[in-house]
Symmetry: C2
Subunit: 592 residues, 2 copies
């Protein structure tokens, strides 16, 4: 037997008990005649004491040879500590050790196993199994487990059935790139890994499952931007016989439940905002509404003077920074430099100081008058002692620029509070999105999204104006979920495929099974999917998803711990009927 | 709004309520002046009534045009039925329809959507979304969901944490074939899909997670035998600081809980049997102990006469078929033919009838005497009116032959009862298994399994005799779970790798990360994995797993519904730096 108790369990009422504990050596304090060891496991830390007078010579000797991260088992008696540690749940007691067994030794770990480690990201990832021993990472993984359990139990109680859909499916070139899997049994053919179980969950609705969910891995072979993973986990949901309203209510219920169960936070009804309003007021379809600084559009109030920068701009946006008048000239210059960085890309920034006495001082004083500034203050909601910051330019550029500035200021001013949760539904998304590069429209959500009945007739005349029954759930400036009511009849689906440039043959080849299914009594249906990695990170109060994934990949898509991907044996390639086609220059691939 | 109630919900107390229902048309009975429609959804069936006198002309007309599998919404009033249907939970009421909307029409489905369908396997798989509408399939999927939920809640309450491990990992040629995934970002390199998360769960133990589980998809590129799937689901579990005894107790607890929660069956302590005993008594390492007919070994009692067949056999096994004396000569001949089929492969079979009066009548009367038969009856446990069946030959052939016969008879005699559950632990598996074909030993479980301390010294002298800390959980003749205590030190692991023919370089290349991990304080650990597909099927009282998987693949590894795998676009292959290497003869791959 390795233990009678865990290391987080013993309290003062256990005094005099004989116990067996196992775990890792967190710390050794060796005073010669007395040795204290902090013994750690997932559940906590218990102090062991070895004492010349009460512990045998052999055990003293063995204890003196212990070192960090050794795995040991001890037998001993629970005694009351002389100097108690109120920081520790087990801090009232210690174990007077009688027997000690070293279960495994440890080399000195490459970084310290402490809450604040000295290990850099690369080292931590290479030795992820040691990183996971650290309390913050362990707690992230436990939080993620709790979120999954709460989701499953909540949805299951609401009659949702978790159905597992296949991972070996078919590649569909539309959308992001698929990871593919060569089939040995079907020569020259490939499976693809799902980017999401979209079509399968729709088929489950056609199949009468009524309410489906699945916590499911999804795969996208994208060039990885920061904080994206080639494999990620989705809480995937679908319901039949529902309107958009039913779905918003159901998943608002789930989200409220999670906030309550995981964070103890009660949130009342979630506000809703149209996509148009989100873009106009926040320059962004996932606004962080934990703080204000809504955009004020200043075109009318700023284009009547001789300031050419504004006069030539498509859109002029101002925001009021609360108490921003206290910013020094240097601080304002830093903000100007910040928006001019290539990542943001603004050409410059105008500012207006709103003085305590109701007067203004601005960088465009020679073009504008007090009454102009007063108007701008009114539009942006600036009060005395605020600072108005103004950007201008093309709408599709200036909005994201101002959004970035707003988020930057929100962080700088401490307005993006970790333990505050501000959910928001963004609704009425456009059905289609114009792509400059390829000169065509794409489905903004995906090609199965139902257009709003009242705007479908615009599809030919003004495609960009067609609205979809699509919605996102935004939490603290992150899209945590998104979904739509789906098309459920073959005619509309064919029309949309055609509009998106699918020939009837292509549509048939890729989605024939779905079109067929729609002819056998497909019910109205819709759904939503949440990003579990992101949701767990936000509930954990963190920005990066990487430490909420047990074994994440780096930005090159590599698992540096197991060293994957890796070259295959010739034999394996041959069985798959594959040849590597490698340029001369690449022919000697280094093994990472 | 599509519905106020589901179709399984309304009872007599709802009479006079105005309700909205949606669902599929299961059946239409049109009497002209009156039309009845059975409306179906996941929750049940509700009868609708359209009545010339009380329903408007338009609605009557629309109702008369309804057909099987149409999707409709109705508004109407709950009324008491004149002739109640006690078979149906909603059988006391019906809905007098006021409004009818056809939400979607349906072509005539290719098979009937009934419990007993007229659709063959191929057709059902092609239109799986229609097959899922059938109650038996839907209930299988719901049962599977319930099993998953019970497993998760039980383990979670026992402090297990579900941790998601990666699906894009590294190929290891040992064991079954991997499915591989070419990496676009890492040219010439491949990920592999996991055959199980084995090394990751061990690393989680090294990482101090203490108790881990995951319901996880696994992938094996095997030539598919009947009832195997290229992707399958495992309940994967691992614990640190445990002995084999701890693991058996923990998962006996889980299995008891499942039997109770899912089937309402209470099972007391699970019997345990060594691998050796299982092979000796049942010829099989997963005996179905719902019924007897244990093997009796007759070598000593049958080799002393002139019957050469027995005298030359390595092993002679008899079983006593209860009341088998009632078998006609024809029935016995059928059994003899059955064991001689190539799938079983016996050369012949001897039988002994045990007469009511204590005498015997056998097919080898001329070689043996009454006293021999009496001895055989004693060894096989045959009583008057039983039938002793005897096979002989090489041990490794005759045991599986007799096992097959025993199972065949168990089924024929109705002894393998669907609703009886007989779990069994099989323990003390050999560490190694000799492979005739390659002339070497392989790990019987996997190369991470710990040998029993007391037998490890036999590794060089008598490898086949080394026992492992490995165990299987058997339920009704199926292995539903298997696991082992793992090696947790680098030395033993290196020794085993070496014995299995890994060079130090190969071991390093494939499992270096694990060997490294073992040097940083790896705790003793062990685990188990259950096959969820099989477990769900057995709990559902069925033999085949296919109808417990929403979208299974056929024996060629194809999903015939979505038509996968499929050829890739040239473009995709190019991006992956791959060429297809296809023989001339194969060059025109037909599209299935």
């Amino acid at each position: 037997m390795y233990r009678t108790h865990t290391n987080g369990e013993l309290r003062i009422n256990a005094v005099d008990k004989e116990v067996v504990l196992s775990g890792w050596v967190q710390k050794v304090r060796d005073k010669g005649f007395m040795i204290w060891v902090d013994l750690r496991d997932r559940y906590g830390i218990t102090q062991l004491i070895f004492d010349e007078e009460r512990t045998s010579k052999e055990v003293m000797q063995a204890a003196s040879e212990l070192s960090r991260e050794y795995v040991i088992r001890v037998t001993g008696t629970v005694i009351e500590r002389e100097s108690k540690n109120p920081q520790l749940p087990t801090g009232d007691i210690e174990i007077l050790v009688k027997e000690l067994t070293v279960l495994n030794r440890s080399k000195t770990p490459p970084f310290t196993i402490e809450d604040e480690t000295d290990g850099g990201e690369d080292l931590r990832m290479k030795y992820r199994y040691l990183d996971i021993r650290r309390t913050p990472i362990r707690e992230n993984l436990i939080l993620r487990h709790q979120v999954s359990m709460e989701v499953r139990n909540y949805l299951s109680q609401k009659d949702f059935i978790e159905v597992e859909t296949p991972y070996l499916i078919k590649s569909t070139p539309e959308g992001a790139r698929d990871f593919v899997v060569p089939s040995r049994m079907n020569k020259g053919q490939f499976y693809a890994l799902p980017q999401s179980p979209q079509t399968f969950k729709q088929l489950l609705m056609v199949g009468g499952m009524d309410k489906y969910f699945q916590i499911v891995r999804c795969f996208r072979d994208e060039d990885l931007r920061a904080d994206r993973q080639p494999e990620f986990t989705q809480i995937d949901c679908e319901m039949a016989f529902v309107t958009q309203e039913d779905i918003l209510n159901t998943f608002e219920g789930l989200t409220k439940h999670l906030l309550k169960a995981i964070k103890g936070v009660e949130v009342s009804e979630f506000p809703r905002m149209t996509y148009e309003d989100a873009m106009r007021l926040y320059g962004n379809d996932k606004p962080d509404i934990r703080f204000g600084m809504q955009f004020g559009e200043l075109n009318e109030a700023a284009k009547h003077r001789d300031f050419n920068v504004f006069n030539q701009a498509e859109l002029i946006i101002g925001i009021a920074v609360p108490n921003g008048n206290s910013f020094s000239r240097k601080e304002i210059d830093a903000l100007i430099n910040w928006v001019k960085r290539p990542q943001v890309g603004a050409m410059g920034m105008v500012y207006v100081r709103c003085n305590e006495d109701g007067t203004f001082k601005s960088s465009v004083d020679k073009f504008y008058q007090e009454e102009d500034f007063a108007k701008w203050a009114e539009i942006t909601g600036a009060k005395p002692n605020d600072l108005i910051l103004i950007l201008s330019g093309d709408t599709h550029k200036v909005r994201p620029q101002m959004s970035a500035l707003r988020m930057h200021l929100g962080a700088q001013l401490g307005l993006r509070k970790k333990d505050e949760f501000a959910p928001l539904w963004v609704v009425d998304f456009p059905l289609l999105e114009w792509d400059e590069e390829t000169g065509r429209y794409y489905a903004m959500h995906h090609p199965f999204t139902a257009p709003k009945a009242e705007s479908i007739q615009l599809l030919e005349s003004n495609p960009g104006a067609v609205k979809a029954n699509a919605y996102d759930l935004v939490l603290n400036g992150n899209e945590i979920g998104g979904g739509s009511i789906r098309i459920h009849d073959k005619e509309t689906q064919s029309e949309i495929f055609k509009f998106l440039g699918f020939s009837p043959e292509e549509a048939r080849k890729q989605f024939g099974f779905l079109m067929d299914a729609f002819e056998f009594g497909s019910p109205p249906h819709g759904g939503i999917a949440f990003g579990l990695d992101r949701l767990a990170a936000i509930l954990g109060g963190q920005e990066s998803i990487r430490d909420f994934i047990a074994f994440p990949k780096n930005n090159a898509g590599r698992d540096v711990m197991i060293d994957a991907p890796a070259p295959l044996d010739e034999e394996q390639l041959k069985e798959l009927n594959l040849n590597l086609q490698i340029d001369e220059a690449d022919s000697s691939i280094p093994r990472h």
